[in-house]
C-alpha cells in the first residue's frame, strides 16, 4: 500500500515504513537504545530527503521515549536534578545544532556533516563497546577475576559550582553534565538521534552515575531535547512529516515490545557485543560511501535565497 508523505513529497510503501519501524524497534527493545542512529540512515536509504529524515526522526524519538520514561518514573529511577542540568545544556546544544545544520545546508555541506558525525561517533562508541564487552566475556569465563577498576575522576572533582545530586548519590560540579548536555543536544539536532548512545556511556564513565538511574535520566533528557529539536525543525525548515513519524512509531512501539522479550533470553555481554557489531556495521557502510567514488557525482537541491 503506497502512501504519499505530505512533507517529504514522496510516495512510499506504508508497510515498508511499518516494517522498518518494527525492525529498529526490535533492536532498540533488545538493546535499550533509541535506535535513531539506525533509523535515520535507513530513511536516507529509502529516499526520504535527509532534512526530513532528521527532523521526523526527532519527532519519533520523543514519542518512543515517552512510554519508557513513564516506566522509569514509576520505579523512581529518574534523577530529576541531574536530568534538569543535562536538559539546560541539551537545549542550548540543540539550538546551536539547528543553526549549524541550516548554515551548512545553505553551503551544501550538510550531508557531509551528518555522515561524518555518524562515522566518527558510531566508530568510537562501537569500538569501545566491542572491546569492553569482549573483556567482560573473557572475565566472566575466568570466573571471579579481578574487581572492576575504579575510575579516576580527579580533574572533574576539582571543578567549581559543586552541587548535590541526591538520586544519583553524587556531589559534583554542574559543569560536566552541562557540557555533556550541550554535546548531546548538538548531535540530536544534526544527526536526528536522541543521543542516548553517547549520553549513557558519558553518564557512567565521566559523571560516574549509578547504572540504575542512567537510562531513566537519559530518556527524560532526550524527550525534552528532541521535542525542542522537532519544534525548531518544524518552525525553521518545515521538515517534520507527521504521517511518516506516526507510521514509523507504530511499527517501532510494537517492535520494541517484541525486542524487550527477546532481550531477556540473551546475556548482557552478548547483547552489548551484538550492538557493537551493528554500530560498527552502520559506521563502516557510511565510511565506505564517503571513501569510494559514487556512481552519480552530481546532486540536485532546491536553490535557496532568491
Amino acid at each position: 500500500m503506497l502512501i504519499y508523505l505530505p512533507i517529504a513529497e514522496v510516495s512510499v510503501n506504508a508497510f515498508l515504513l511499518l516494517g522498518l519501524g518494527g525492525l529498529v524497534g526490535i533492536l532498540s527493545g533488545m538493546f535499550g537504545v533509541g535506535g535513531g542512529f539506525l533509523m535515520t540512515p535507513l530513511l536516507f536509504f529509502i529516499g526520504i530527503p535527509p532534512a526530513v529524515a532528521v527532523a521526523t526522526e526527532a519527532n519519533q524519538i520523543v514519542a518512543s521515549s515517552f512510554s519508557g520514561v513513564l516506566a522509569h518514573f514509576k520505579r523512581k529511577t529518574v534523577d530529576l536534578k541531574m536530568g534538569g542540568v543535562l536538559l539546560i545544556g541539551g537545549l542550548v546544544g540543540a539550538a546551536l545544532g539547528v543553526q549549524l545544520f541550516n548554515a551548512l545546508r545553505a553551503i551544501g555541506q550538510v550531508d557531509l556533516l551528518v555522515k561524518l558525525s555518524y562515522v566518527v561517533f558510531l566508530g568510537i562508541i562501537g569500538a569501545l563497546m566491542f572491546v569492553e564487552s569482549l573483556n567482560a566475556i573473557r572475565k566472566s569465563r575466568k570466573a571471579g577475576g579481578p574487581p572492576p577498576r575504579r575510575h579516576h575522576r580527579g580533574w572533574i572533582h576539582a571543578l567549581p559550582f559543586k552541587t548535590r545530586f541526591r538520586t544519583s548519590g553524587l556531589y559534583l560540579s554542574v559543569i560536566p553534565p552541562l557540557v555533556v548536555g550541550v554535546a548531546v543536544g548538538v548531535l540530536a539536532a544534526i544527526m536526528g538521534v536522541g543521543g542516548g548512545f553517547i549520553m549513557v556511556p558519558a553518564m557512567i564513565y565521566i559523571l560516574g552515575m549509578p547504572t540504575k538511574v542512567v537510562v531513566g535520566t537519559s530518556l527524560f533528557q532526550i524527550i525534552f531535547v528532541t521535542a525542542f529539536t522537532t519544534l525548531l525543525h518544524a518552525t525553521t525548515n518545515f521538515t517534520v512529516d507527521m504521517v511518516l513519524a506516526v507510521l514509523l512509531l507504530i511499527g517501532g512501539v510494537i517492535g520494541a515490545q517484541i525486542g524487550a522479550r527477546i532481550g531477556v533470553y540473551l546475556k548482557a555481554e552478548q547483547l552489548r557485543i551484538l550492538l557493537a557489531i551493528m554500530v560498527l556495521g552502520v559506521c563502516g557502510k557510511l565510511a565506505f560511501d564517503l571513501l569510494v567514488q559514487p556512481s552519480e557525482l552530481f546532486s540536485l537541491g532546491v536553490a535557496s535565497g532568491h
Binding site: A63, L112, H233, M242, V246, I254, F298
Partner: protein, 246 residues
C-alpha cells in the same frame, strides 16, 4: 472524464488542433501513486492536407524551479561537494512524446523557439563553473532516472493524418502546481500550429491540510506532531500489551 475542446490555432492557418485530456486536475491524495494522462485530439483542416507528412509533438511541463546543482569531488580522501551551480529554472517534470524520432519532425531552430526538447526547457544563465554544460546534463540525467523527465519518441499514435492520441505517466513524486500540456503540429520540420491547456496538480484532503498547517502555522503543527506521535506511540504499546496479556 473532463473534456476540453478549444481550437487555438491562429486564424488564417489551414490546420488547427482540437484536443482533450483525460483529466485536467490531478489530485494528490494519501494513496496517490502517480497518474496516467491521456491526450487525444484531431487535426481540423480548411483545405486538403499538404504533401509533407504531419508530425505531432505532445509535451507536459511541470512548474519551474530554481535549482542548486552540486558536484562531488575527492578532497582529503573523502567525497564531498566542491562546486555548486545555480540553474535559474528547470521544470520539475517534463515529458515529450512524438510521432517520429525528434530530429525528423522538428528543426533545432524551431525547437529553440518553442522550447520543446528537454535541454531547451531548462534555463541556466550566469553560472560560476567553467563547464556549466556538465551541470545541466546532470539535471537531465538525474531527473530522467527519477522518471521526472521523459523522452517518448514514437509514442504518439497518428491515424490518417488526422486523429492522434498518446498517454503520459505522471510519477508519484510530483510537485504541486499548474502543469502545462502543449501540442505542436509540424510539417517539413516546421511548427504549423500549436495548442495548449493546463493541468492542475494539487494535494487534496488530509495531504492539503497537513501541508498548509506545516507552512502556515509551523509552531502549532510542530506541537501537534509531538502530541499525535506521543498518543499514537502510547496507544500502540497499550494495545500490544493488552493483546499479549490475553
Amino acid at each position: 472524464m473532463a473534456m476540453l475542446i478549444a481550437p487555438l490555432g491562429a486564424t488564417g492557418q489551414e490546420e488547427s488542433i482540437v484536443a482533450g485530456l483525460s483529466q485536467n486536475t490531478v489530485s494528490i491524495t494519501a494513496n496517490f501513486n502517480g497518474s496516467e494522462i491521456l491526450i487525444f485530439g484531431a487535426v481540423q483542416r480548411s483545405a486538403p492536407a499538404p504533401e509533407e507528412p504531419l508530425g505531432v509533438i505532445v509535451t507536459i511541463e511541470g512548474p519551474d524551479q530554481a535549482l542548486t546543482v552540486r558536484r562531488l569531488d575527492r578532497n582529503y580522501g573523502i567525497w564531498m561537494n566542491v562546486e555548486a551551480v545555480e540553474v535559474d529554472a528547470a521544470p520539475t517534470f517534463y515529458a515529450v512524446a512524438t510521432t517520429a524520432p525528434f530530429d525528423e519532425i522538428i528543426t533545432s531552430t524551431e525547437d529553440l523557439r518553442y522550447r520543446i526538447s528537454i535541454p531547451r526547457a531548462i534555463r541556466a544563465v550566469g553560472t560560476g563553473s567553467d563547464r556549466p554544460g556538465d551541470f545541466t546534463d546532470a539535471v537531465i540525467r538525474i531527473r530522467t532516472d527519477a522518471g521526472l523527465y521523459q523522452v517518448l519518441e514514437n509514442t504518439v499514435n497518428l491515424r490518417s493524418e488526422t486523429l492522434f492520441d498518446t498517454s503520459i505517466a505522471l510519477p508519484a513524486n510530483l510537485v504541486e502546481g499548474d502543469y502545462l500540456a502543449r501540442i505542436f503540429l509540424t510539417r517539413g520540420r516546421e511548427v504549423v500550429t500549436s495548442f495548449e491547456t493546463e493541468i492542475e496538480v494539487a494535494k487534496v484532503g488530509l495531504e492539503r491540510l497537513i501541508f498548509n498547517l506545516a507552512h502556515e502555522r509551523p509552531l502549532i503543527y510542530g506541537l501537534l506532531s509531538l502530541f499525535i506521535a506521543i498518543v499514537a506511540g502510547w496507544s500502540a504499546s497499550a494495545v500490544f500489551r493488552y493483546i499479549l496479556s490475553n
